[in-house]
Amino acid sequence: MKEVDELKAQLQDLQNKALALFAEAESLKVLQELRVAYLGKKGELTSVLKGVGKLPPEDRPVIGQFVNATKTTLAEALDKAEVLLSDKEKQARIQAERIDITLAGRTTSRGVVHPVQQGLNEMTAIFSQMGFEMAEGPEIEDEFHNFDALNIPAEHPARAMHDTFFFNAEGDADAKLLRTHTSPVQIRAMQACVDAGGEPPLAVVAAGRVYRCDYDVTHSPMFHQVEVFKVDKDVSLAHLKGVLQHFLTAYFEKDVPIRLRPHYFPFTEPSAEVDIGCVFCNHKGCRICKGSGWIEVLGSGMIHPNVLKAVGIDSSVYSGFAFGLGVERLVMLKHGIPDLRLFFENDVRFLRRMGAK
């Protein structure tokens, strides 16, 4: 056998053996080792090539071509095997990384805003958007701001309607009390305006805690009110109705019918109690609205001239409307909360269910 044939046979052997090994390779690492073993600088193909030098010169190109063909075949086979293997390995990895995506996610515990606070936030936001400026006042008040300036003189029967927490004897020159309503903020805001040399228009919303010496299923000694008033030239009862209708519709997030009933408050004239169509029975009449289809939500009216007089605003030039609403009551109506006391028990199970997240 000629040397050249021998060499060819040898290469053929090498190729068969290599292809078989490539096919068996189980990892990319093994394949890489095989690549080095066969195609590397010190690999098997190189060592076969070393025998080429012994061949007669005319045979060298023949065998050269053969070597190159073998090299190409092996290289292509290696590439192909590599692709297959890396694909397989990726599949295996994906399989290994499978998780139970139905397990609970990692969370931190969430807080909640108290439903009364949420109500306050919603209400004051609506009034802010309507151009009412936020104001605050003290909770420990004097008789002047809580009663006298609001046209409720000491001997007036209306004074008895407020179950007042007095700190000292009622009627003392400087008797202090826990405010029974947010209306004293009305007085303070108007006084501040006048004292600063200003004059109406004034449009104010004031929210806060108020106190009544009354504690049973439907009364809490502390609750929240929102007071709203506007003083300007030509403010009318029709404007009061406009603001009430807008507010109640915005707060309850639906068109609620409203009804004004003539009533009496010392600090407004005319005065009106405001009812909304019962939200539980859609105004049809149910147990909660005692069959009337109406639910009382707040008291309102045109500011009494004596109130304006008490703060030095000329009632022949300016007029105004005012109303005060019970926050807890509106929140109860909006969310169907049955019992006022739930708000101050602060059971976190109730708060988490009813509060805003």
Partner: protein, 789 residues
């Protein structure tokens, strides 16, 4: 006030249903709290004609009746009564009827005989307390008709809440006047029968000293009265109106008060000594009320007195010894006008309320004083006999009942209501008793004596509004005064985002709870603000600390299946005295128990100081504020070593710490409890974010680990580090803390991580090396720290 519909109809011929009338009353400003039909229970009871009566075969005392109800078949009824005869008409409760006493009528068998209903007595119909036998109806009673309708028992009674300004509506006549005007129906005037006076009866002598408070006083004497119980119809009316019958004379007075609105009083003339004087009380004078309560009087109390003693608190009630009883034969009758404010003062100081005081306080129509007295005298003489003296009158009746004239501009009324006043409104107001005269824009308005509440243009606008109907006032949005930035306070929202549940507690706590966190005299001489009339002892002191209520809330929840709570409250604390006091806006937190429960990814963990500190820091960061925490071992109620003052700049903004263990035990809290509070009023707004370019050059991170003596605070170490590193330091933080194996006793290993950067160039190894060396030198010099790596 209770208004029986049938009585109302005697003042005005109303033909509407009770429900319609109730709606109209509401529209006119009279709150209807309910419509009662106290005898509605007699529905189903019909007029029956006894067409046959036979003895029961098996029972001597029972009768078998055949009753004609006007239906095809006659009804068989077994009856035990004995007072009826064949041919009588009686009330028959048919099967299915539920009687006022709760008895439900069913078909039954009595001693073998079937019975399809029951014949009723007055008691069974709820018309009398007890009764002897059946109620025998008149022979002309229509067979088959509902007995309730026939006897007028289906009475509707309106329960009205009369507003304090409408004293005139504290009577049947007052309510009728409003309705009659609204309906355009006539208001029926009260009868004008006057008893002839008898000169043989001496007229009482009356002196009015306090003429400012007693504007008119009328009195007469009635002799020879035989006081007995008032007639059934009168008693029934009083009961329907919510009053208890007492005796004939008192009942007549009460009846007339309800009817016409004028409260009056009758004295037993034989218990009086000398003349009657209307005066203010002498300080310390006593008075025994009808209920036997003795009250001590003051100089501002208006009284009626005889020569010996106070015989009545004017307009409120008479004294016990001078009251009319069944034994009384001679009477002095009083009808007067008192100033409302004066009655109000005495009512409050003496704590005595009566139907009379409720009316006088609200204002009584002086126009009724004479009329009501005539009616009472007429009724007393008619019912119980007697002779009436001439009347003594002190005061000027004419000026009292004169109309009041008001002049207003009609445009002001229109602009206040937001509607042009329709002409039709005038007619209604005129029927209510007002006088109206238009002269161009000017309105001349005259107000009758029964409406003392109408004095200003604004009052007139209310009358127009009532008559026009609030429903007919248009709905108009007022022009926007000014645009407001939305300033809803985010304090609570931020705290909630950090995982806290907002609670709202009462502002008052118990005196014991107050002392838990605030010593009696601490600080700055502040005092407790104590409520003299608290709901209870537990709610009697204005809180000076937010912590007691938070602890109570934690207790409440930990007792109800919670394993941990994180609470936040925004509210005020109060301190000071009556002359000077403060209200401070606070935000306060409480954490106790689990902050982490067992999950598939984490193990359960209890809250510690740093959970709460982190929350407070994050909350402050949200407002652009950074706080410094300074250890403070002397905060009442908080545990030394785990408590700090919180500084914002130079001012103390609050406290944070672990609640004393024994104190927490007192609230049944077994886990460590951490609380913090921030005074919102000392927080200044943080700086508004200002743009800064993101640094162009990379930062370098370096770590150093030192051994420190225990007791060196990270705050002090990091401050020193900042000084040492100079301007290149962006951030320095403790990234490792270890005092376990390998660390000598009394030492702690702290790892500090540095981030260095320069805005203008890339820092070199040399730069950072220099900074690190400076740090090492300072740590060694200042803390005798030892570099570990």
């Amino acid at each position: 006030m209770k208004i029986p519909f049938s009585w109302l109809k005697e003042h005005c011929p109303i033909e509407k249903s009770p429900q319609d009338v109730a709606d109209d009353l509401v529209r006119l400003g009279h709150e209807v709290e309910g419509i009662e039909t106290p005898r509605a229970g007699v529905k189903g009871v019909r007029v029956g004609h006894i067409v046959e009566m036979k003895p029961h075969p098996d029972a001597d005392k029972l009768k078998l009746l055949k009753i004609d109800l006007g239906d095809v078949d006659h009804l068989a009824i077994v009856c035990g009564a004995t007072n009826m005869v064949e041919g009588d008409k009686v009330p028959v409760a048919t099967v299915g009827t539920c009687l006022p006493n709760g008895l439900k009528i069913k078909k039954g068998k009595i001693r073998g005989e079937v019975s399809f209903g029951m014949c009723c007595s007055e008691a069974e119909l709820g018309l009398a307390e007890d009764a002897d036998g059946l109620l025998i109806l008149p022979q002309d009673a229509p067979v088959g008709e509902e007995v309730g309708e026939y006897l007028g028992l289906e009475e509707a009674v309106f329960d009205l809440d009369i507003t304090p300004n409408r004293g005139d509506c504290m009577s049947l006549r007052g309510i009728a006047r409003d309705l009659a005007a609204d309906y355009g129906l006539p208001l029926i005037e009260p009868g004008d029968e006057v008893v002839a006076t008898d000169d043989s009866v001496t007229t009482p002598t009356v002196g009015v000293v306090a003429s400012e408070d007693c504007l008119l006083y009328r009195a007469c004497r009635i002799e020879g009265v035989k006081v007995s119980a008032s007639p059934d119809w009168l008693q029934a009316r009083l009961i329907a109106a919510g009053l208890r019958p007492i005796n004939g004379v008192v009942d007549v007075i009460n009846y007339t008060m309800l009817d016409l609105g004028q409260p009056m009083h009758a004295f037993d003339a034989d218990t009086l000594h000398g003349d009657i004087t209307v005066r203010t009380a002498k300080e310390g004078e006593t008075f025994t009320s009808l209920e036997g309560k003795e009250v001590s009087l003051h100089a501002e109390d208006l009284v009626i007195a005889d020569d010996n003693s106070v015989i009545a608190l004017a307009g409120i009630m008479g004294s016990e010894p001078t009251g009319v009883t069944e034994k009384t034969t001679n009477i002095v009758l009083e009808s007067a006008a008192f100033r409302p404010a004066r009655i109000s003062i005495t009512r409050r100081t003496c704590g005595l309320v009566s139907d009379s005081s409720m009316r006088f306080e609200r204002g009584v129509d002086p126009g009724m004083i004479a009329l009501a007295m005539d009616q009472v005298a007429h009724m007393i003489v008619g019912l119980f006999g007697g002779k009436v003296s001439a009347t003594t009158t002190v005061g000027d009746a004419d000026s009292l009942i004169k109309d009041t004239q008001i002049q207003v501009n009609m445009q002001r009324i229109a602009s206040r209501l937001g509607i042009e006043v329709p002409k039709t409104a005038d007619a209604v107001l005129e029927r209510m008793g007002f006088g109206i005269e238009h002269q161009g824009d000017t309105l001349n308005f005259s107000v009758p004596s029964h409406r003392p509440d109408v004095r200003l243009a604004e009052d007139i606008s209310e009358e127009y509004a009532r008559v026009i109907g609030f429903d007919n006032i248009p709905v108009v949005m007022p022009p926007l005064t000014n645009i407001q930035p939305s300033k809803v306070d985010t304090g609570i929202t931020d705290a909630v985002r950090l995982g806290f549940v907002q609670v709202i507690n009462y502002a008052f706590i118990s005196p014991q709870e107050q002392r838990l966190f605030v010593a009696e005299d601490a600080p700055q001489d502040d005092k407790d603000l104590v409520l003299p009339n608290p709901i209870s002892e537990a709610m009697s002191v204005m809180r000076r600390s937010m912590f007691p209520s938070l602890l109570n809330t934690a207790k409440y929840n930990m007792n109800r299946q919670q394993t941990g709570v994180a609470l936040v409250e925004q509210g005020r604390v109060y301190a000071g005295n009556m002359i000077e006091h403060t209200e401070t806006n606070m935000l306060a937190w409480l954490m106790t128990g689990d902050v982490q429960q067992d999950t598939w990814y984490a193990k359960t963990r209890k809250a510690d100081f740093f959970d709460l500190k982190g929350a407070v820091e994050s909350w402050l960061q949200g407002r652009g504020l950074t706080a410094r925490f300074m250890a403070d071992d002397d905060v009442q109620g908080l545990q030394a070593g785990q408590t700090a003052k919180i500084f914002i700049g130079k001012s103390v903004a609050g406290y944070i710490g672990k609640v004393d263990g024994d104190l927490a035990d007192g609230f049944d809290l077994s886990d460590d409890v951490f609380v913090a509070s921030i005074n919102l009023d000392v927080l200044h707004a943080g700086k508004k974010a200002k743009f800064q370019p993101i640094p162009e050059f990379p930062s370098i991170e370096r770590d150093l680990v030192f051994l420190f003596d225990k007791g060196a605070t990270s705050d002090a170490i990091l401050q020193t580090v900042r000084k040492a590193c100079g301007q290149h330091l962006v951030n320095a933080s403790i990234f490792d803390l270890y005092d376990g194996e390998g660390v000598p006793e009394g030492k702690v290993s702290l790892g500090i991580r540095f981030v260095l950067q320069d805005g203008k160039r890339t820092l070199t190894q040399e730069d950072s090396g220099k900074a690190m060396q400076a740090v090492i030198d300072m740590m060694v010099n200042k803390f005798e720290a030892e570099l570990r790596g």
